[in-house]
């Protein structure tokens, strides 16, 4: 019979099993309560091994009734943990870290273990990587085991090892199975702010480097060191170490699939897609139910422009069986909404908007705040010809906006704004429970020309700035929006109240620029001085996103930007007609460069004047033969011309077998070339600027 203190409650358990919670910690006074609160109700014993805290860690632990063991830190995690295990007086032990908490499953734990046949259990781990729901990695880890049967081995990444005891020989031979518990632990120590606060990455790295020096042929150490390098930003070093670790690894090592995953992901991020493709081609076959591998394979193949193969890989990721996936450490959504979204992107590249719509909406239902899916879905719906109102209605019908979290609403609103649906975005922002997205509201109001209201938002934000952590940068975006509104002559009053909100370093430049803009109104062209150039350039671009192209040109001139550069920027921001106009004038003056020719060709292409576009591209390629987008563009011109020739031929001779077949081949070829995009990737908002 045991007694345990848990916030003043007594629990007497006659003949039923007891569970103890064990931790090692150093200076965790901040996080300890959250952890212990989640288990104190039912834990019969809490054991904390303190490895040298200088804060109130021990005191807090004792307040929860914990047994506190002071242990001198010897760079040995296993040693520390085993110290705690020695003190266990319960039947079962649950191992936690201070940056974890029990999320669910505590209530039924006693009953579950009472009838246990196994002597160790894996529990579900949810490693949060960021504030958004999809920023998590899911895995299983063995954290629950019978006291006295196991000990830890390994200095840095401790592994459970079964204690061989005489008399236990029969049990050992019988090889007890591992149980699967539905217990779920939430680990938030990998969140960026936590990592920064605790300096985890640096500490791990140092420890691991020491260990690697001791055991250079240890694959597991090499792997963990590589991960540490990735975390500290030394990706090239990490890549080499991943390769070494993989070569050394035992083919059946439990960490091998994750090693492959991390290796491939690092290669892909370092733009060594070829390596990733080759690696994953062989490895994904060994782990057919590990969705992360298939997902990465898809991304690597897509980066090489191989859409059909990428699609197959994404589909493989989406068909991984959930029961089998649990054996692996998986990124959240790797077997569902991530590959669905990727397939949606591929469908959109091929012009299959209806298919894309189906895929994206499924992804959103599964993960309502997944940004890539929102961005893709809204664009796909627009490509299907839906009005912004219809888009909003469809969203409502699919996910019920009122039930979405603020985070999800924000993503939806952002996607609507990026697609040019500013009214609908604004509406949605206003339904958010907290008012933290004042910036988005301000932006939408400004684009819609409601500058007075936009300015109002800025005033309120400035008033609230005190309580905000990142008040300065938030304020800056909005301040600039308001400034531009004023300069465009949309509000009566001058900018003084705003200028005081600008940080000192830029205030003078802003004041000068403001005066220059006013002067220009009265006097015509004006020369901008050196100090204002940078600010003017940045504000010029912002003006374009706010649909103020004329003001943008004024500011561009003041920044000293060339007409050619401005023309290209106009184009990039979607003002294709204005941009093309300027480019044509520049061409006539002989001042066009390769980038300019490319954009002119693209404009003609966009209007369907394929043969003229081809001529422009050919002209440009004669001078600049390495211009890849122009070559892809000219290829597509000829193929589209061939399509219209075939179409006309088929109109006159319906069902003509040869022409039908060639038309089919042209379509297939174009579909394959969709994997190598060359056109400016406008979003809906930018496309809607082309009228202006």
């Amino acid at each position: 019979m045991y007694f345990c203190y848990a916030r003043g409650e007594w629990a007497m358990a006659e003949g039923s099993i007891t569970i103890g919670v064990h931790l090692i910690a150093k200076d965790e006074a901040g996080r300890l309560p959250r952890c212990l609160d989640s288990v104190s109700e039912w834990a019969s014993q809490i054991v904390l091994v303190d490895t040298g805290s200088s804060d109130r860690t021990q005191e807090i632990a004792r307040a929860y009734g914990a047994v506190v063991v002071s242990h001198v830190w010897e760079n040995d995690f296993s040693g520390a943990r085993n110290e705690g295990l020695k003190r266990a007086d319960t039947d079962w032990v649950l191992v936690l870290d201070a940056d974890e908490e029990l999320a669910e499953g505590g209530e039924g734990l006693h009953a579950e273990l009472a009838g246990a046949t196994a002597d160790r259990y894996s529990v579900r781990m949810e490693h949060r990587l960021g504030p958004r729901p999809e920023e998590a990695v899911l895995s299983r880890a063995v954290r629950l085991f019978r006291a006295g049967k196991y000990r830890y081995e390994g200095r840095v990444h401790e592994q459970l090892a079964r204690i061989e005891m005489a008399g236990d020989l029969e049990e050992a031979i019988a090889a007890p199975e591992e149980g699967l518990s539905e217990l779920r632990l939430l680990h938030y120590g990998y969140m960026p702010e936590e990592m920064a606060r605790k300096g985890t990455a640096e500490r791990n790295k140092r420890l691991l480097e020491r260990e690697a020096a001791d055991s250079p042929e240890d694959s597991f150490v090499a792997y963990n060191l590589a991960v540490a390098y990735v975390q500290s930003g030394e990706r090239a070093r990490a890549l080499r170490l991943f390769e070494k670790a993989l070569n050394l690894a035992d083919p059946n090592a439990p960490y091998r699939p994750t090693l492959v995953r991390d290796y491939a992901e690092t290669a892909l991020n370092l733009d060594e897609g070829d390596k990733a493709v080759d690696l994953l081609a062989s490895e994904s076959k060994k782990y057919p139910d590990y969705p992360d591998l298939a997902l990465l394979q898809g991304k690597a193949l897509q980066a090489q422009g191989r859409l059909p193969e990428a699609s197959r890989a994404y589909e493989a990721a989406a068909s991984c069986r959930p029961e089998r996936m649990e054996a692996y450490i998986c990124l959240a959504g790797a077997g569902s909404y991530r590959p669905w979204t990727a397939l949606g992107d591929v469908a959109r590249m091929r012009g299959e908007a209806a298919k894309a719509d189906r895929l994206y909406s499924a992804a959103i239902v599964a993960a309502p705040s997944y940004r890539p899916a929102w961005q893709g879905w809204v664009e796909a719906m627009r490509e299907l010809g839906m009005s912004y109102g219809e888009v909003r209605d469809r969203i409502e019908a699919t996910v019920k906006l009122s039930s979405l979290t603020d985070g999800a609403k924000r993503e939806a609103a952002l996607a609507l704004a990026d697609a040019g649906g500013y009214e609908e975005a604004l509406e949605l922002v206003r339904t958010m429970n907290t008012s933290f997205d004042r910036e988005l509201a301000c932006f939408c109001l400004a684009v819609l020309g409601r500058h007075e209201e936009a300015a109002m938002e800025v005033r309120q934000a400035l008033a609230e700035r005190e309580g905000k952590k990142q008040g300065e940068s938030v304020g800056r975006n909005m301040v600039e929006i308001a400034l531009l509104g004023i300069w465009n002559g949309h509000t009566e009053e001058g900018p003084d109240w705003l200028l005081s909100a600008i940080p000192e370093t830029d205030r003078e430049a802003a004041r000068k620029l403001s005066a220059l803009v006013r002067r220009r109104e009265k006097e015509g062209e004006v020369n901008g001085g050196g100090e204002v150039r940078e600010l003017a350039f940045r504000l010029s671009d912002r003006a374009l996103t706010l649909r103020l192209p004329d003001l943008a040109w004024i500011l561009a001139e003041m920044s000293g930007e060339s007409e050619l550069s401005f023309a290209k920027r106009l184009f990039r921001r979607g003002y294709s007609l204005r941009g093309a106009d300027r480019l044509l004038r520049l061409m006539q003056r002989g001042e066009l460069d390769e980038g300019g020719y490319l954009l002119l060709g693209e404009t003609l292409f966009g209007k369907g004047h394929y043969s003229t576009a081809a001529a422009v591209f050919e002209e440009a390629l004669a001078s600049w033969p390495e211009m890849m987008p122009a070559r892809l563009g000219v290829t597509e011109c000829y193929l589209r011309m061939a399509v219209s020739v075939a179409d006309e031929g088929l109109r006159r001779n319906p069902g003509h077998p040869r022409l039908s077949r060639e038309r089919g081949r042209l379509e297939e070829s174009l579909r394959l070339l969709a994997g190598l995009p060359w056109r400016t990737p406008w979003n809906g908002a930018e496309r809607s600027n082309s009228d202006g």
């Binding site: 897609g273 070829d274 090489q304 422009g305 191989r306 859409l307 059909p308 193969e309 043969s611 001529a615 050919e618 002209e619 004669a622 033969p625 390495e626 890849m628 070559r631 892809l632 000219v634 290829t635 000829y638 193929l639 011309m641 061939a642 020739v645 075939a646 006309e648 031929g649 006159r652 001779n653 003509h656 040869r658 022409l659 060639e662 081949r665 042209l666 297939e668 070829s669 394959l672 070339l673 994997g675 190598l676």
Partner: protein
């Protein structure tokens, strides 16, 4: 007695009233007398013939075409005999040439180009050179009751007789009638079967045959109904044609796009008829259509292992051997396994070395993979191409696949030197043009022009090409005489109303010439000229007389130019990182496949 008669037209006719007038008016002014043997017309054929001044002879039909023709020939008084059928017409713009030929002493007979218009005429025409004009000598008489011949008789009596191949055209519209007649035959069969089934609705074999007729007429939906009914009536294990029934049912479903159903039925049929390789091939086609390419490849490999089906099964030629190997190659190519695809095509050739489609695919694949230079060596080691004809065929295919380099290499080697002069010089010029070497191409043609009579026909062709290349080179020293260059010159000189190609110019030969010019312009870096050719072509296609062949050729030309750009991309840095995607896109472009 006036001038001796030069040419006698001799015809045999039965109920050709619909087309006889067209025929006879086409020879007015070309022939000096017309003799029509009427073998029993019931329409106004005889009246029409008399109206055109023909002598009409009534002969009783004895089932002997040669006898009927000879009845007319022996009455002819001209130096030469021209024979036509009632559904033919002489090319009216060539009368002068015809009479010119008839003044010659050195030949006993002339071959004319008979153009057979298929279907309703839009699908283009096939052309066969046939002996239609021969010296009127008493010993020259037709032989053969059904497919009557004259050449044999000439050579029998004059073993050293020579004949000449001309460019004179005879238009034969009769295939359109044969097409209708064939349809009538099918209709007749179907009527018979339907009647028989009225009497015996459960007669499985009739129903099966009716299904076959529907399938042949391109009506798979109705065919399927009948096949399905028939299969309910037969014992699948005891009926000798049950496997065929199964196969055709599957084929109908495939034609109707019901691939999942077809797949399921095929799987079942394979269990019933193991060893019937046709079914494995059909299964692979289903898997391919359902997007399961990897499985399709596996199935075809199995089919090849199985080989030709047992003799009890009725199969198609090539299943289990070359047809299967070729299909496997196509699938491997689609899946991006190019090495294996090449092996599969080689295997197809191994089963039947006279096949050309695998050669087309291999040459193209090697060229796109950047391995064109391997072709000449491979041809020498893998094939025993003994005759110059075989080498000529291979060179022609290489040129069609745009493997100018490989073609040039072969032409310069030993076997290339043995090829007929005219052909070799033209081929070399074509190869150089494909490689973008305009000067070399022009040089070759200049020397070909000096060759003698033996190369006369290719000389005509090479003269046209030489002029085209001269235009491309900007060499305006001499005036233009070819219709294409005249039209091009008018537009490149900036004429307001540039000349179009029209009418007769739009038949046959002009499209390959335009394609050569278009692709040649771009390969030689003559962009402006290329644009002129393109614009001329587009204007030409606006004409209602332009055949679909013109559109098809332009599609190929534009694809070839696009392919050239993609080839340049592949060799850049960007291309190295996106090689597979670029190669896949290039291989899907419209291309010649020899089918």
């Amino acid at each position: 007695m006036g001038e001796p008669l030069l040419i006698s037209l001799c015809m045999i006719v039965k109920d050709e009233g619909a087309t006889l007038a067209r025929c006879l008016s086409s020879v007015q002014g070309a022939v000096d007398e017309t003799i029509v043997v009427d073998t029993g017309s019931t329409d106004d054929s005889a009246e029409i013939a008399k109206r055109y001044g023909a002598v009409v002879v009534r002969e009783q039909w004895k089932g002997d075409f040669a006898a009927a023709r000879n009845a007319g020939v022996c009455l002819a008084q001209g130096r030469w005999i021209l024979f036509l059928d009632g559904d033919e017409a002489l090319e009216s713009s060539q009368h002068a040439q015809l009479r010119q030929l008839a003044t010659r002493d050195d030949y006993e007979g002339f071959f004319l180009q008979v153009r057979n218009y298929v279907g309703n005429g839009e699908q283009g025409a096939t052309v066969n050179p046939i002996l239609r004009l021969f010296r009127n000598r008493p010993e020259y008489r037709f032989q053969g009751r059904i497919h009557e011949q004259i050449a044999a008789s000439i050579l029998e009596s004059r073993p050293g007789a020579s004949f000449h191949l001309t460019e004179l055209v005879i238009h034969h519209y009769g295939y359109q009638r044969e097409y209708i007649e064939a349809k009538d035959k099918v209709r007749r069969n179907m009527d018979l079967l339907e009647a028989a089934l009225q009497a015996e609705p459960d007669h499985a074999f009739y129903r099966y045959n009716l299904g076959v007729e529907y399938l042949r007429s391109g009506r798979p939906e109705e065919a399927l109904e009948h096949f399905a009914r028939a299969s309910r009536l037969v014992d699948p294990e005891r009926t000798s044609y049950a496997h065929l029934l199964s196969k055709y049912e599957i084929r109908c479903k495939q034609a109707l796009g019901r691939w999942e159903e077809a797949y399921v039925q095929t799987a079942g049929a394979i269990r019933l008829y193991p060893g019937y390789t046709d079914l494995l091939q059909y299964k692979a086609l289903c898997e391919r259509a359902l997007g399961r390419q990897a499985e399709a490849i596996g199935t075809l490999i199995e089919a090849m292992k199985q080989g030709v089906p047992q003799p009890i099964y009725h199969t198609e030629e090539g299943i289990g051997t070359y047809q299967t190997a070729y299909l496997l190659g196509e699938l491997l190519e689609e899946y991006g396994h190019y090495e294996e695809a090449l092996l599969a095509y080689k295997k197809a050739l191994g089963y039947r070395s006279s096949l050309t489609p695998p050669l087309y695919r291999m040459f193209r694949l090697l060229r796109v993979a950047g391995r064109e230079k391997e072709i000449p060596q491979w041809l020498k080691t893998s094939f025993r191409l003994a005759s110059p004809e075989a080498w000529a065929k291979v060179v022609a295919i290489l040129l069609q696949c745009r493997c100018g380099r490989a073609a040039a290499a072969i032409l310069q080697e030993k076997q290339g030197r043995k090829l007929p002069e005219g052909f070799r010089l033209l081929a070399e010029a074509e190869a150089e043009l494909q490689r973008g070497r305009l000067d070399a191409a022009r040089r070759g043609l200049r020397s070909s022009g000096r060759k003698g009579q033996g190369a006369r026909d290719s000389a005509l062709a090479s003269a046209a090409i030489a002029e085209h290349l001269r235009w491309l080179d900007g060499d305006v020293k001499e005036p233009w005489s070819d219709r294409i260059t005249i039209a091009l010159a008018s537009s490149s000189q900036g004429s307001e109303q540039p000349i179009k190609l029209t009418g007769d110019e739009l038949s046959g030969g002009v499209w390959p010439q335009l394609q050569r010019l278009l692709e040649g312009s771009y390969s030689c870096g003559k962009r402006q000229e290329g644009l002129h050719v393109l614009h001329l072509w587009q204007r030409t296609l606006e004409s209602p007389e332009a055949t679909p062949a013109g559109a098809d050729a332009l599609v190929h030309g534009l694809s070839a130019i696009a392919d050239r750009h993609l080839a340049l991309l592949t060799s850049s840095d960007f291309g190295k990182r996106h090689k597979e995607a670029l190669t896949a896109a290039r291989l899907r472009l419209p291309h010649e496949d020899g089918m």
